[in-house]
Amino acid sequence: MNPGDLALVGFTLRMAALATAAILVPGIAAGLLLARYRGPGRGALDTLLSLPLVLPPTAVGLALLLLLARNGPLGAWLFAHGLSVVFTWKGVVLATGVMSFPLLVRSARTAFEEVDPRLVALARTLGCRPAGAFFRVALPLARRGIVAGLVLAFSRSLGEFGATILVAGNIPGRTQTLSLAIFQEVQAGRDRHALVLAGWTVALAFLALWSTEWLSHRRDPEVW
């Protein structure tokens, strides 16, 4: 097979893994917040965190681009500190991370909502501070849903297109992922190669989704 394709697959996997790692902590925190917080503004927060699910990815990408461009409100500050996000691999990670964030949040939230709050309360009577009760009881009991959410977010990251192309461009060897490359090849009339690349995305997505299936149906009732 084409070594260029292999590099493309490797880059795409790396970007998706980094994006998933980047949203791990904030995604779990947001899921916990939505599961536990019952005060005012809860609905608004819920909606806001789910927006990337329904907005056109290009709209999200545009917002990120304006925010992070060298003359944008956040971009200027980052640039002053020697960090450039737009049109770099960091832009790929950011765009795909933002787009897949709601998938993790939703899974984590459902998982935390299914944890019996009485078990968490019991952990407190057994000497745990709130943080201890979270790490020793709530998190382990919610791990299954969280892992499923992570796999889903990772799968989504593999194929992100609209937000990525606006924030990071489509620069072969620098910011080009599989989905961006398919677009480029079709534009250039190299349909056969585009089809090969599409085959790769199918294989990766299948593996990722199948692993969630495998995780949720694993016959290990004692542990999961």
Binding site: A121, R124, T125, L126, C128, P221, V223
Partner: protein, 363 residues
């Protein structure tokens, strides 16, 4: 844990606890022994335990454990649950499903291997240590939950109907553990139960909750006269007679007791109760046989002459309230309407009541 004077007050409560239907107001001083908490469903028994454990943020008032305030809202003090050292065992045991039995027991022990060992020994959990909670029976779960609470070396134990989820047979297997914990760990303990027999067997003190308030508090035996408790008692065991152990007869396999009403009763041998000990005899109404003539050649050891005081239809049966001759008090007997007709039982008629020794439980 040593040197605590027997009967010293361990727990002072002065609580106001908003619940769904009413606010529970309760003031009580409890001894360093087992206190049974009784009352109808929804009277706030579980909420009371949760408030003492620090799990009810809306609780107001004072909770003082051995002189140390856990809650004193007037002074703005409310210790978080993790700093109260109160062991709480909920009704469904509440084991952590992702941890083995031993990891559950170790959960709150903070590496105190000695207390973990002691808890495991007391509740005989050795054969279960590697198991996961979902593979345990109801009784085993309760034992693990009790051990988990004990391993934290609590200063107070809160048990929410530890036997309610168990069927009668299992109940008899778990109750001894509770009594063993009471003896070996000498902890003040609040014990929620619906079962008067359990309360009498395990508790030195009793709190009876009504709608939002304390209906009665004191020695469980003396409280049997309180109508609300008597009602509860009748739901399970109809005949509860205060009595004293007279003597054991090993050869005959019986223990002789005398009720406070002067009735001589023989029960199955129970040498754990010393002669002179105060006990309560529990007899279900359906275990009392009724005869219209004095029975002869009967295996039942306890036969008493009585007069039918009242007859009442209860469900598909008839409950007879029978006054024992010679002022021995009364016994309730439950028989079928067919038996009533066959015997010609009617109010005012003399009858003989017979109870097998094995149908009488000592509480």
């Amino acid at each position: 844990m040593t040197g605590r004077p027997v009967g010293a007050l361990a727990l002072e409560l002065d609580l106001e606890l908003p619940l769904a239907r009413f606010t529970l107001r309760l003031g009580a001083s409890l001894p360093a022994d087992v206190t049974a908490v009784m009352g109808p469903s929804g009277s706030g028994k579980t909420s009371l335990l949760e408030a003492i454990a620090g799990l009810r943020r809306r609780a107001r008032g004072r909770v003082v454990l051995e002189g140390e305030p856990l809650l004193d809202t007037a002074r703005g003090l409310s210790r978080p649950p993790e700093r109260r050292r109160v062991g709480y065992v909920p009704q469904d045991a509440g084991l952590f499903p992702h941890l083995t039995v031993i990891d559950n027991v170790r959960f709150g022990a903070r590496g105190d291997a000695a207390s973990v060992d002691a808890a495991v020994e007391t509740l005989e959990l050795r054969p279960l240590l590697g198991r996961m909670p979902r593979s345990l029976s109801g009784g085993e779960r309760q034992r693990v939950a009790l051990a988990r609470a004990l391993a934290t070396r609590p200063r107070l134990l809160l048990l929410d109907e530890p036997l309610a989820a168990l069927d009668v047979e299992l109940r008899d297997r778990v109750l001894p553990w509770l009594l063993r914990v009471r003896r070996a760990w000498s902890l003040p303990c609040l014990y929620v139960t619906h079962n008067v027999g359990e309360a009498l067997a395990a508790a030195a003190h009793l709190l009876l909750l009504g709608e939002g308030r304390l209906e009665a508090a004191g020695d469980p035996r003396s409280l049997l006269a309180v109508p609300a408790l008597a009602r509860e008692a009748q739901a399970g065991i109809e005949n509860l007679l205060p009595a004293l152990v007279v003597a054991h007869d090993g050869a005959a396999g019986v223990t002789r007791v005398r009720t406070d009403g002067g009735l001589e009763v023989t029960v199955a041998l129970d040498e754990e109760r010393a002669p002179g000990a105060a006990v309560t005899l529990a007899v279900r109404a359906e275990d009392v046989l009724v005869a219209s003539v004095e029975p002869v050649g009967l295996s039942a050891r306890n036969v008493y002459a009585a007069t039918v005081g009242s007859s009442e239809r209860t469900g598909s049966d008839v409950t007879l309230r029978c006054a024992l001759r010679d002022g021995g008090g009364e016994l309730l007997a439950r028989i079928t309407p067919a038996a009533v007709a066959a015997l010609g039982v009617e109010v005012g008629r003399p009858v003989w009541l017979a109870v097998k020794s094995h149908s009488i439980r000592l509480l």
